[in-house]
């Protein structure tokens, strides 16, 4: 399963629900305002509780648009561009957009 999240954790419980549900082999893609969840801060512990076998991606253009550098993100965050987004969609079934 590929989870696509587009809201930051203070706007929506979507990411929290995905973190709770995701199992090994799943992937989470952070786009739009959800990329704020990629920032490694003392307050954001959400991704720390996620299974190591779940991959977490963040859309690079959306990180850049918000001035977020990869050095600010959790080490497990894998940056992808739109071509990578398309590849994730083709590699996973089903794909679920969570709001």
């Amino acid at each position: 399963m590929l989870y696509i999240i587009n809201k930051n954790p203070s706007q929506s419980l979507a990411l929290k629900n995905c973190v709770d549900q995701a199992i090994a082999g799943d992937a989470i893609l952070l786009i739009e305002n959800a990329v704020y969840a990629a920032i490694n801060t003392a307050q954001s512990t959400l991704l720390q509780s996620l299974d190591d076998q779940v991959s977490v991606y963040a859309l690079t253009p959306d990180l850049q648009a918000r001035g977020i550098g990869l050095n600010q993100c959790y080490a497990r965050i894998e940056p992808v561009d739109y071509a990578g987004f398309v590849m994730l969609v083709t590699e996973h079934q089903p794909v679920r957009s969570c709001f």
Partner: protein, 130 residues
Amino acid sequence: MKISLQINASPYQHQAADSAWHFIQAAILSGHDICRVFFYHDGVFNALRDSRPPGDERDVVKRWSELHAKHGVDLVVCVSSAQRRGLLEQTVAKKLGGYQSALADGFRIAGLGLLMEALIDADRHITFGD
């Protein structure tokens, strides 16, 4: 791979239309078939013919029309969502007040049946918006 998309949010309010458009460009470049884009809820404003953004910024509506002209992507606007918001296609517009179609070139109006058809036909369906 056949991919269909659904856009639920209006442009200029939400990033959905931009995210979807960039996704489509990358998908087409990778050789995938975008079989349909379904505009639902406030997403119908993506089809607004009279939209006139400032000349120095992207023109979301025109961009969709060009996508249809260049790649033949089926752009479907939900009829109920559109009529609620006053976006009337030609025949309905004439019946109700003589105004011309509010839909930009390349868009067509239809019901949820075409959303269901896209869900069945496509290998993947991606939703953008809220």
